[in-house]
Structures are given as C-alpha cells and as structure tokens.
Amino acid sequence: NLTDKFDTIFRKLKGHGKLNEQNIKESLREVRRALLEADVNFRIVKNFINEVASKATGQDVLKSLTPGHQVVKIVHEQLIHLMGEKNFKVQFQSNRLNKIMVVGLQGSGKTTTCAKLASHFRKNKLEPVMVACDIYRPAAVHQLQVLGKQLDVPVISKEKSKNVLKIAKKALKETENSEKNVMIFDTAGRLHIDEKLMKELRDLKKLLKPDFIFFVADAMTGQDAVNIAKEFNDQLEFDGVILTKMDSDARGGAALSIKAVTGKPVSFVGTGEKIGDFEEFHPDRMASRILG
C-alpha cells in the first residue's frame, strides 16, 4: 500500500531523514499511480498532486523527522478535505410531503437503492411510498413492486403507461391526502448524452419540484465519472450522490471525481444487494480506500 511504498522511498535517505524536492517528487509519483489505479480522473489527479506538492514543500514538512509519514498525512488530509465533511446529513421532516428523485446511468443500482431508501426512511419514522417511473426496462415496474412487497411499502405505478409525467401526477394525487410523507421516484437508467431522456428528467423535476435528487453511481466507474456526473448535475442540479456496490473491491476513485467536478457530497453508500445493505458515507474511510 501507499504507506509501505513511502517508507521505502524515505528509507533511502541514508540516516539523514529529511525531505527534499527530489524525494517528494518520487513519493508524488507513487501517489499519482495510486490515485489513477483507484480510478480518480486523471485531471483531478494532476491538480491534487500539485496541491500536495506545494503543501509538502512547505517549511515545516521539510524540517520534519518522519518525512514519509508527514507526506502520507498531507495526502490523506487533502483527500478527506476534497471528499467533503462528514456532517452532511440527509434529513426530512415528517410533517410535510417530501419528494425524492433517484437518477443515474443504466444498471447503477437505482431501483434497489429506492427500496433501501424506503427502508432507511421508515427506520427514521417516516412513511415512504415508491413510484415506478421506469417505463422502458422490461419488468422494471415489477422489480420495484417485488421490492415494495418485501418491505411492505406501497408502489404506485400506471399500468402500460408510456408517460412518466402522467405516472407522477397520478402518484402525487394518490399521495397528497394520505399519511405518506416521503415519495421516492424510481426513474429509468439513461445516458447523460441522451437528449430526449435527459429532458424527461428535467420535465419530471419541473413537475415534482423535488426536495432532493439523488444521483446514483456505481463505485467501479472509471474516468468517465466526471463527464457523466457533470452532465447530470448541469441539467438537474442534483443534491447528493449515492455510491453503490461498495461491497466490491473497487477503490471508488469516482467518488472523488464526482465531488470535485460537481461539488455535491456523497450521502450514502450501497454495500450489497439486500435492502439492509445501506450505510452513511464516511469521507475518511473513503480516503483510505482510494489510497489503497
């Protein structure tokens, strides 16, 4: 891992043990490699390395007697700082109707995440209902209904409907005078470059005026994470990110890329296929995972 590699680099400072530009450069090459292997976007890696370089060549580090550990500390702190502060809490009040949209690329884990959100909200004393707005994928509505049954959370859909706005209107009408206080809208996976489908999301947002939009992203996403996230954010201004499939051994550098390019924080992570596999995001744990 990175700490071991740094120890090797700095051990070569035969007894002198002080940092200089040359061995900082060497250690930064290792950091660059670690971040690229972790799928952090190459441009973000470039900026990050420059930031760390200027911090590391600062006077107090140069005088330090544990140079390897000092550089690792700077890298780690800089990563956590970039990832966002832990106190980003997603909370909803039970005395109003909260509307939540769940969006993202094909296969990222949206439908499963809707069920996880429903379960999470109910644990926090809210009354969820899910709305099946994926009218394209075979058996997508059925999938959400099966999950709803498992959870005993109602699912609103409109049989054979080819119009997402009509489904949403039906859902709003059915929910407005009920005791439900959080609506979770599952949407079809789509490409950020699909103009027609991105417009569908913008129109849905206009109709719902949602309280929160979650962008769902797969933890194994590579360099393209910046393009995808930027486009979704430019068009929808989502509020938070849910990083799924964190139970894999993907390092998850996409989390850093997405935060860097959109400024939006990761609020939750998916850690498996079961409804309970859902946790709050910890920036410090993510930083360690990305560094390897």
Partner: protein, 282 residues
C-alpha cells in the same frame, strides 16, 4: 489530439492522457508509451502526423493476433446445443445482451432457448421472459429462489432433448469478492459439464464500458471460476471508451468478441478493433 509540428514532451503527455482517459490504466498506458518511444527511435520518426497511426497500430497488435480472427467470433460451428454462459458483476448488461443475441440467432434461422439462471434478483426471471418473447426464443425457468444449478441442469437437458441449436444461460450478477457466489458459478459450470462435457462452448464475461481498473480484477477472478472465452463490452453508446479491455487482453489473453451499443434487440455488434481504437483518440 494536436498532431502537428515536431514530436515533443507535450505530445507524449497528450497521448498518455488520451490513454488514461480511456481507462487503459497506468501500467498498460506506460507499456504502450514505451513501445511508441522505441518505434520513434528505431524508425527515426520526426513527423508527428505518423504518431497517431503508430500508436493505434501498437494497440491493435495487442488486441488482435494472427489467431484471433477465428477466435474473436462466437464459434457456433457443429455444437448442438451450442451453449453460451453469461457471467459478470451486477448491472453490466448480461440479461439484455442475451435478449440481443437470442434475436440474432433467431434471425439466422436457429432454434434458441434461454435459461433463467438468475433465481435471486427481484423480477430477473420476468425480465428475461420478456426478452425471450421479443426474440422468439423459448425459455426454461423455475420459480424465484430455486437453486440456479438445478434450473440450468433442467434447461440444458430439455434443450438437448428438444434438439435446440443455441442455449443462452443467464446468471445472477455477482461480485468476484464473494467466494460463495464464485463457488456457485464453478458449480454451475460443473453442472453443465455433466450433460455436455465440453460446454460451456462460450463463457462470456460481460463488462460495462464505464468500468475502471476493477475490470481487470473481475476478469482475473471470474476466469478462475470458469475459463472465460471472451468479453462482451456493453454501453459503448455512452462516452466511456472501455479501455480496460486492452489490459485484459494484454495480461490475460481474453479477447473482446462483441459490444453492446444500446438497449434494443438490434444493438449488438461484433467487435471491431480498428473502430474501437480510433474512438480512443477521437
């Protein structure tokens, strides 16, 4: 890519960044850049216009070799039933790809059976059933929660008895980090071999083109559970380049056989290395 003037460090940096941006990965990118620099030296190249052809040729030689022309297409020849197993991590496009391939073989006049080997995920069987209906393939399935190996055993037996030409087997998405699920996959392979000893004739790892470096580990681990005969690279209709397959071919010698370019039945193409590589530098 700005290809004019002399070959300098800026051009080399731009080229390396194009590789990294395509998810080719740092090790494979460094390998390609080393080869490029050697070629520039030995061929005494000074015109940067020649560099694009050179780097594309280096990568093309990594992706296809003299044997791969036959190997890089599904070898359906004289196997009946011709059995194809689809594997991969969650959400990459296995079920949809089966729908596309079923359609292709039906259009070629073959009889096709799909087997609903994903007995775990909500509505997985219903999803595959709709794809079977769309393509005209028959489907062998049991209820959700059944043992996948039993379902697959029954399906393959039925295909053999009914003289089916092509069998496409769907499996549940699984993370290679889950030992019990990888063991389940090995068991599925052994089960198929009880009926058809040289099957699966194709074991296709489905990879999402937006995947980063984790794809290499996926390929390594899945390859241990079943000898992967090829990769299907999906979602290339997006902006990701899918460069992870270059490293996978280079390190594991697993070729890409097909690509997915959309969500409809017709959105499946044979892999074209030239087009794939040119897209990296576009």
């Amino acid at each position: 890519l700005q290809l004019r003037g002399k070959i300098d460090d800026d051009l080399m940096d731009d080229l390396e960044e194009a590789l990294l941006q395509a998810d080719i990965g740092i090790d494979t990118s460094m390998y390609v850049m080393e080869k490029l620099k050697n070629e520039i030296r030995t061929q005494k190249i000074e015109d940067s216009q020649k560099i694009q052809f050179l780097i594309e040729d280096i990568i093309k030689k990594m992706m296809i070799d003299e044997y791969s022309h036959q190997a890089d297409h599904l070898k359906i020849a004289n196997k009946k039933p011709f059995i194809v197993l689809f594997i991969g991590v969650n959400g990459v496009g296995k079920t949809t790809t089966i729908g596309k391939l079923a359609r292709r073989y039906k259009d070629e006049g073959k009889s096709v059976m799909v087997i609903a080997g994903d007995t775990f995920r909500a509505a997985a069987i219903e999803q595959l059933t709709i794809w079977a209906e769309r393509s005209g393939a028959s489907i062998s399935k049991q209820q959700q929660g059944s043992d996948p190996s039993s379902v697959i055993y029954d399906g393959v037996m039925s295909a053999k008895n009914k003289n089916i030409d092509v069998v496409l087997i769907d499996t549940a998405g699984r993370q290679h980090t889950k030992v019990n699920l990888m063991n389940e996959l090995s068991k599925i392979v052994r089960t198929i071999q009880k009926i058809v000893p040289d099957a699966p004739h194709e074991s296709l790892l489905v990879i999402d083109s937006t995947t980063g470096q984790n794809a290499l580990i996926q390929a390594e681990i899945f390859n241990k559970a079943t000898n992967i005969s090829g990769i299907i690279l999906t979602k290339l209709d997006g902006t990701a380049k899918g460069g992870i397959v270059v490293g996978i071919k280079h390190q594991l010698n697993i070729p890409v056989k097909m690509i997915g370019v959309g969500e409809q039945q017709e959105d499946l193409r044979d892999f074209d290395a030239k087009e794939f590589i040119e897209a990296i530098f576009e």
